[in-house]
Amino acid sequence: MAIDQKPLIYLNNAATSWPKPPGVLEAIKQSILLPAFGSGRTTGTQGEDYATQARERLSAFLGSESPENIAFTHSATDSLNILITGFLHREKGECHVLTTALDHNSVFRPLNEYAQQHRIRLDTIPFSGCHVLPVSVEAAIRPDTKLMVMTHGSNVLGSVQDITTIGDILHDHGIYFIVDGAQTAGHIPLSLRDLPVDAYVFTGHKGLLGVAGTGGFYIRDPGTVEPVRFGGTGTDSFSLLHPRGMPERFEIGTQNYPGLAALAAGVEFIRQNEMLSIAEKMEKQTAFLVSELKNEENIAVYNEHPDLPIIAFNIRGLQNDDVGFMLARGYNIVTRTGLHCAPLVHKAIDRGAGCVRISHSWHTTDKECRIAADAIREIARNADPSVGKA
């Protein structure tokens, strides 16, 4: 099969967005062509201080109180580890922590490590439909519940959670609220200073259109989380103890300058192109794809009304990784298959078998959506639904 004659259709943006806007590529190039400036590690002042630029843009974009409330890390997973570990450092003795079945292993694994060490007791709140209900959160609260960590947008179902109502409930009980925004940052407008969240985690390489190896978090009150990594910051160098101010409290070592330059450029691209108009285009494409797939007898779509450009499905009679293989090799369409690091979602929706996920982007055309829908339907029409049917 001459797949090289078919243009690549990339529908795996919920994993890593591609392609990047031209401005992002240019920013990376410039950051490498020129020496690094600023950040307390050079006398050079002739160019951009990438960390400061990215921090200012992210702060404005996410609606934080000030750039000082933003810290950069290697990824969303790195951010969650820092926040969870740093928060628990302040807790004396075992406490109760909540998360949800919609969450990702970046949340489950650190929390379950601490549960295994008897540092916390962990309860996982199930979801109903595609959402975690505020009433379920309220019912799960115990007298010693100190922390809740939950996803803002499901990376499998594409459903955005009601973090405003949930955050208000948690705050009424004095519970700290960390939100994993890996799938929502760059996709939906946010004003974090107005939301009842204590920390919001983002990654650079998905909706913010930067590159892998960048991420970070917003934190309302940095004093609520202890630093857990220590070292050079380029500031306060006489002190043999790590500085406690922001952003040094959570940022160690030399920054990923090309990554931060890319992140700043990605955010600028979204701002200039108006996130809402990008989102509107993607919403139409999502609705089109869902309607094409759900009407096919052999296809099970797990959320027919996703809030994010994420569609999860299976074809009856075929394993999800076979469908992914056929799309990739037969049609040059890149998707993602398997469990998507969200095992409890799959336990609930497909008995843990996993599914195919398609996720489009600002760059995906209507024609590409049509080709993808036709390819998926062609595979479905040729599958034998009786195979593997329970």
């Binding site: 090799r329 062609e378 595979i379 195979v387």
Partner: protein, 105 residues
């Protein structure tokens, strides 16, 4: 998972040959024909008719025992030595070791 680059395109006949050693599922109308060979506890081979690459997924725990057998399947088919009795004897011997490692029996 490993990609194998073959010196000739995959054919429907190749997967028909593989049926001697496991199960084959085919969707002939998808593209130029999708085929999947599954040898439970050993490995699976997926490919499209006319393509020169196939994807092989090994069961990690026994890959050291089974990997050579994949090459034997490819070479025996390519060289046209379709007397499968020798390969079947090898298969039996390997299978005993695979089962012993995976299930202790």
């Amino acid at each position: 998972m490993k990609e194998f680059l073959l010196d000739a395109p995959v054919t429907e006949g190749f997967f028909a040959y593989l049926q001697n050693f496991g199960s084959v599922e085919s969707l002939p109308s998808v593209g130029d024909g999708f085929h999947k060979f599954e040898k439970q506890d050993w490995f699976s081979i997926k490919g499209f008719s006319g393509d020169t690459t196939v994807e092989v997924r090994f069961k990690k725990e026994v890959m050291d025992l089974t990997a050579d057998f994949v090459f034997s399947l490819f070479s025996s088919y390519r060289e046209g030595k379709l007397d499968i009795s020798v390969l079947k004897r090898r298969e039996e011997a390997i299978d005993e070791r695979v089962r012993k490692r995976l299930y202790g029996a």
